[in-house]
Amino acid sequence: MQNQNEGTQMSSRPVIQLRGVSKSFGAVAALTDVDLEVSAGEVLALVGDNGAGKSTLVKTLAGVHAPDSGSIEFLGEEVTIPGPNAALNLGIATVFQDLALCDNLDVVSNLFLGSEIRGSRLNEVEMEVRSWELLRQLSAKIPSVRIPIASLSGGQRQTVAIARSLLRDPKLIILDEPTAALGVEQTAEVLNLVERLRENGLAVIMISHNMSDVRAVADRVSVLRLGRNNGTFTVADVSQEDIVAAITGATDNAASRRVAAVSTKAASATTPPAGTSSTTDEQE
């Protein structure tokens, strides 16, 4: 695929780079001075508690909200994203949590919905062939592309939604809670899929609440807390406690005590939780 070639050649510079992005809704500051960058072939996990601003940040990138201030650079050029179509045209694809699939249509119709291949009439054969190619490329297991979406499992639906976002050859793909409400095996399928996106040279931003999923596929973790950056970690050299501490923003609270207690019990952790959360307030 062409994604791969482009991916390797630009892995040096970030696909998208946010600097000092702020957004308020009336008196509520949803985002304050947020920085973020993702490179090609990299999976960035975006984590944070409820109300931390993850969704607002994603909607800013997807063109749903315009930021109040700050700059967005895409492939090294400063851009504005006034609307959803502008985001798509730039090469930013977003898979929202509710997937937005039509249950009554089959897989092919859903994949090409709104961008059907047609001459004087719909070219079903061409669309079906391209559907198989796309799904094969993702090594996705779909029983048939001619069955309605309603008969697919949650993981398969997520796969279809992700495959659809790939149709327009995006450079950056944003996944909003891709593993929420999925079973163990389906979660594994989706995580495999995320790894395949990375192998294909895409930049991936994945929102997740599930720390084990984050640690399984992400290269870096960016923590948002109360609309601000609260640390960015490389997954390889950070512990789960560090991330949780950054999310909750405090060293001494129920969540971090619990994580600490669990790890002490496992008799592997010797570091007290207070020492691990030095990143918590260094941004201030």
């Binding site: 119709s109 919905l113 054969v125 029983p143």
Partner: protein, 415 residues
Amino acid sequence: MNEPSATTIARELEDQTVREQQDLRGLLTGTWGRIRSGDLGALPVLAGLLIIAVIFQSLNSNFLSPANLVNLLLQSAAVGVIALGIVCVLLVGQIDLSVGSVSGLAAACFATLFVKQGWPLVFAVVGAVAVGAAIGWVYGQVFNRFGVPSFVITLGGLLGFLGLQLFVLGPSGTINLPYDSWLVQFGQLDFVPAWLSYVLVVAASGGYFVSQWLLARERRRRRLIAKSVQVMTVQAVVLLVALLFAVWYLNQSRGVGWMFVFFVALVLVMNYALTRTSWGRHVFAVGGSVEAARRAGINVRRIYTSVFVICSTLAAVGGLLAAGRIAAASQSSGTGDVNLNAIAAAVIGGTSLFGGRGSAFSALLGILVIQSISSGLILLNLSSSLRFMVTGAVLVLAVMVDSLSRRSRTEHGRG
């Protein structure tokens, strides 16, 4: 042409999970599996038609006579065309309750323009149909801009356009159409010559076979599973024999009316538009999930407007056919059971009231059921009171079948 050899694996079979076979046995087992999971298709309607035919034929031996069937088909064309518009509106999950009034208004406008104003027939027809289209456009605008439920808008239209119809007709209340005018001829006297009807039937089945064969060839060329020649031959032959028998039987009497042929042609055109164009795909998408359709970049408002315009336009066309059939436009044109018969026909034919599921053929099948019941009860000399009650019961029964099969589909994961 490099036809791939039999050893080439179809794309679908690279996965081990595909089970459906494409030969005749596979077709039968696949169909049986779909029926068991609640994907009934046209089956309940066909079963219903059979039951109706058996019951009425045993009560009155004239029911299945060629003369009665010829009449039945002619009668069904006008409301059938209106039902075709209803199918479109139901597919996006909306409803139009005013089709009866719009058809009556179109008939009144046509009669006034043609008889009173002396316009040429073609202009009068175009004018009346344009009135229908304009009404649909207004519905679309009110629906899109103000978010008024289509149920309410069209309920207002039901009353409002009935009033306008009475106003247009003026104090006399009835305008008779001259018997020698083309529209009346079309509605009452124009039948397809016997030889032409056989030619049309052969052309239809031949066309079906060729289109299937071309599609299968293209699919095989692209390494997709394709229907076998055996299956499509059997289907085309069954279609040919059934149509030949039907036409031969009708030709024992007056034959097939051009008006019915016109209705069937509209059904075929609508079926093409719904299944082979991106407009049709978008109609189904909006009916399935408005939000998903909007996010896919579909102009949802335009789809709604187009559907309302098509429904009102077809209602106007149906009104003209009905006027031609009785050679008059009167205060009772489009009133009474026209509205509910049209909606009932679409639903009985298998178009879901819940949106996103149905086909153009449901207008054809549904109106045949409604018209058969009506014709049978008239043959039995039963009053219209009973006719209303029976039609009402059949409508409720059809919606029950729809709801039950929907539940079963959900349980079997067929959406």
